[in-house]
Symmetry: C2
Subunit: 337 residues, 2 copies
């Protein structure tokens, strides 16, 4: 039992426009009329049609966060950071998952391109080599901010961690603890985070004159079973690595499982370090040395950049790249024997 605006106006014997302005607390309407209208609206259980009201003010009070997967401690913390900022602004946050598929990323952006949300934060899939769908969105003047997995070639705000420097420091730590044959396991050949982390790792190896064996630099994909096979193959080589740098935590988990199954002890026979926000890093069989991104702060900062764009009537995209530092948490998995 509820009435629409027209029915409410009829019951009140007032014009739709008067009732509408009274409900929006317009200064043009007298306080007495406002009270009468509001009382009747409550009595008759009137509720605004959100689509109709969006049509008028063209605002959804909503932002979208698009990420590869929510089952990931980095992304879930980043979302909480974005939510905390949006909430202060009275905004809701919608979360969309691409499941690492470029086609889904394209489809979601298409779904959002006509004003369903007021702004978008995105972290790209591992497949995103073509950025035309992102350019398209930017050409429509929809506020867009990248975080973590950014499109480096596009002129838009970006929030990331210091991928190169952190990977350099992590690798330096492995080398100082005695590692001589270091493998790097990545997740993508096109993602900037992967390229930068690998570059940091290689730079440290060069600096400390560690031989770079290209057969130890491998890339995993979405398929967990295939990934474990690839890692198993890597660990069965005659030139088996004595340390692994995992680009993300899901790779580190797979390395633990393969080592367990093949009775390779961490850290005695294999050191392991990973970019990770895993909440169980400290209680793993050999606790995980991790490079921990300030995930919550990255999400919050990206939301802050997004609202800066949204707050301007005519904004211009600028190539603003904000870098928040990660921390190295040394635990058992890299202990020197």
């Amino acid at each position: 039992m509820s009435v629409n605006l027209k029915e409410l106006a009829k019951k009140l014997n007032l014009s739709i426009s008067t009732v509408s302005r009274a409900l929006r607390d317009s200064p043009e309407i007298s306080e007495t009329t406002k009270k009468i209208v509001q009382k009747k609206a409550q009595e008759l259980n009137y509720h605004a049609n959100p689509f109709a009201s969006n049509l008028r003010n063209q605002k959804s009070n909503t932002i979208a966060v698009i990420i590869p997967a929510i089952a990931n401690n980095f992304f879930s913390s980043a979302i909480s950071g974005a939510e905390s900022f949006a909430q202060e602004k009275g905004y809701h946050v919608l979360i969309y998952q691409t499941h690492e598929e470029l086609v889904k990323e394209v489809s979601i952006l298409k779904h959002l391109q006509n004003g369903r949300v007021d702004g978008i934060m995105i972290s790209l899939t591992r497949e995103t080599f073509d950025t035309s769908h992102l350019k398209d969105l930017m050409n429509r003047n929809i506020p867009l901010v990248f975080f973590d997995r950014v499109a480096e070639n596009l002129q838009a705000p970006k929030v990331t961690t210091d991928d190169f420097e952190s990977a350099y420091k992590g690798t330096e730590h492995l080398i100082k603890n005695g590692s001589k044959k270091i493998a790097f396991i990545g997740i993508s050949e096109v993602l900037a985070i992967n390229i930068n982390r690998l570059a940091g790792c290689l730079a440290a190896m060069q600096k400390y004159k560690i031989n770079i064996d290209k057969s130890l630099l491998i890339t995993c994909d979405e398929d967990k079973i295939k990934n474990k096979q690839k890692i198993k193959k890597l660990l069965s080589k005659p030139n088996r690595p004595d340390a692994i740098f995992a680009c993300v935590e899901e790779i580190a988990i797979a390395v633990y499982e393969v080592c367990e199954e093949n009775k390779i002890s961490i850290p005695e026979e294999m050191k392991l370090i990973s970019f990770s926000n895993l909440n169980t890093a400290g209680i793993l069989k050999s606790s995980l040395t991790s490079i921990t991104q300030p995930a919550y702060e990255i999400g919050r900062e990206a939301a802050s950049e997004l609202f800066k764009l949204m707050d301007k009537k005519d904004f211009v995209y600028v190539n603003n790249h904000i870098v928040l530092k990660s921390t190295l948490n040394i635990r058992s998995s890299t202990k020197s024997s």
Copy 2:
């Protein structure tokens, strides 16, 4: 550079209604006209205003999933299950987090009550003792389905696991492996899942004539630091338990951390079992014996129930409770010494 429907109609010298019907592929419009309209629409970069079109057909092609937190392996898998079903129906899924706060749950439901989404799947906060906001939504005839953390008193579809039976079996396993003083650590005194899991645990203790010590039945809340203090206090008692049944995985993680800090070895001095979908359960310092819910299937089944309601023009809420069984994964944390 884009045009709206009115401008497009003007350029084509056709009525708005004709153009609109042509774009919607209406059978009343000739194929020739449709082609002309579609070509011009593409040429002039016409895009439908989603709010205007929602206003017409009153459909958003979107469902909402409301959960306490996404940083939780059960909920992230359940969401993936719901997404897979929704996608087959051409629907998008919006994800909302309540962060275990009843006020947020109320606010989100209020935000959704006017047709922003076509249906809602919800898992309640640990604070949700009052269900009037849910009744309110149901009275507006908005399709609503509960999953995992359900409101048992409301007549709506519910999808859960066999909480009582699984907890009974898990406790039986502890007892058969020698546990005599079993503690239960819950997360809420009002949530049905907590009540049913505790009841299952107590029923097994009664059946096997294990003394029930009420001081070993405690409830944790959202504050991680306080939770660890509570657990530490529990483990410092003179009547210290020899086994812990954790209601959810975040409690199990806290138990691991407290045991680590206080040098209590799992399973030798303390057995541990938990409801959990943790992806690192198998590689924890003492791998975790878990009761694993079919999270993906629960999400998918709840979505299926939701679409059954949404597909009917006039649906009636029925008290349909679907139960999907959990599995007991026996690992090291409950080994008898």
